[in-house]
Amino acid sequence: MIDIIDELALYFQYPFVRYAMIVGVLIALCSSLLGVTLVLKHFSFIGDGLSHVAFGAMAVATVLSLTNDMVLILPVTLVSAILLLCSGQNARIKGDAAIAMISVGALAIGYLVMNVFSTSANITGDVCSTLFGSTSILTLTKTEVWLCVGLSVVVIAVFILFYNKIFAVTFDEKFAMATGSKAKIYNLLIAVIIALIIVLAMNLVGALLISALVIFPALSAMRVYKSFKSVVICSAVVSVVCAMLGMLVSTVAGTPVGSTIVVVDMVAFAMFCGIGMFAGGVRA
């Protein structure tokens, strides 16, 4: 035990380990806060869908030989997220079907464009990097860490300030609209911050981990808690704890960070299922 602590202390002397820890925890926190809303709005798979959109945009950027492909990827992904999330409860095609359509379409276009126009593209590598993160979480630069901190502060502040509105709009959009709340604006706001955090996180830790961070903590919390507030708080705590545990384990055991966090989240989910069944649900 002492050995492990010593070993961890040693690792924490390296700035890249500290950076990874900070960014991991912040992304886990933000995505779990938004995860509750996303899961309840049937947008669990949005992380995955948007990563395919990003891939499509990247393919086009490569073909156009843009030097900085982010100028294309970021706006395209943002717009897709906003389109998906703002179509609201009245949309003809909604939730999972809309995400599936956009993601499959983008993937196909990306692949097609790359095949037709590009000769030397490493397609498998590109698909892999959008799924698992283009830069590994262990090679973050200081700028990226600050960007992440800034964005997280914004996301958390917006979430707290608009908490009641987010609840009302997620629970019953029609009623909120009928009684004169600016449901459209709130939906747009939610969409923008979700898109921002997903686009950022996708680049830092990969779409796979983002999807897991969105889904698992929210579902775990919903097994046990029955009010919106307690579900939000619980999922934030679960997410942060799991992310930290996962990163510690992966540092010590040398396993891949993203997948380790996902596995820890799965274990937590199983535990919450057990608690939920055993307690028959806490009244809170």
Binding site: L40, Q89, I160, L161, F162, Y163, N164, K165, F167, A168, F171, D172, E173, K174, F175, A176, M177, A178, T179, G180, S181, M222, Y225, K226, S227, F228, K229, S230, V231, G281, R283, A284
Partner: protein, 238 residues
Amino acid sequence: MAQIICEDVVLGYEGKVVVKGLNFSVFCGDYLCIVGENGSGKTTLMKALLKLKAPVSGQILTGDGLKSYEIGYLPQQTTVQKDFPASVEEIVLSGCLNRCGWRPFYKKEERQIAEDNMNKLGIGRLAKRCYRELSGGQQQRVLLARALCATRKMLLLDEPVAGLDPVVTVEMYELITRLNKEDGITIIMVSHDITAAVRYASHILHIGYEPLFFGVKADYLNSDVGRSFMAVMGGAVQ
């Protein structure tokens, strides 16, 4: 001055007209019951009154100091999902949202309003319970309490008793009548229960492709439409 005035309103979806020639006004303290067959456009009219849907032509005016967002609303079918984790308290309180504007949190007085409304509807002790674990009747009361938080003036109820057992149905009607009589809240209710409609309402709007009748209850009972509808529905006049 009437709270709501409909002038030659035509309602429809994508060019297909559902109801036309709607002319009626609702005054403060009225209890209007909207009756009509399935698909005659009752819910569509509700949506139009709530400004969720624009009329094809004609206009819906609000007056007597009623803002269009000061209308409480109990939907026919809730779009609420089965597995949504929310406590009764949170849902009722969310009815106060339109009082907040850009203010991020609820004030003490808004929490008090929510609590009063829960007590008024007899769901005070359910405050901490999970919405999805309540019975249908209890859920309706929760949504009614939320609607009451959103208004002091007017309630729109779309089939508030659908799926409730006879005892609870009567309780629900009594409750609505009390809100109308004691608190002076204007009620606009859609109902298939013509017996209840003529017992509790002060005015009846019977809609079909063209509105068949609008007026006070006594006249409705003497009209041809009213008589034949009563005969079909087997309603016993009290």
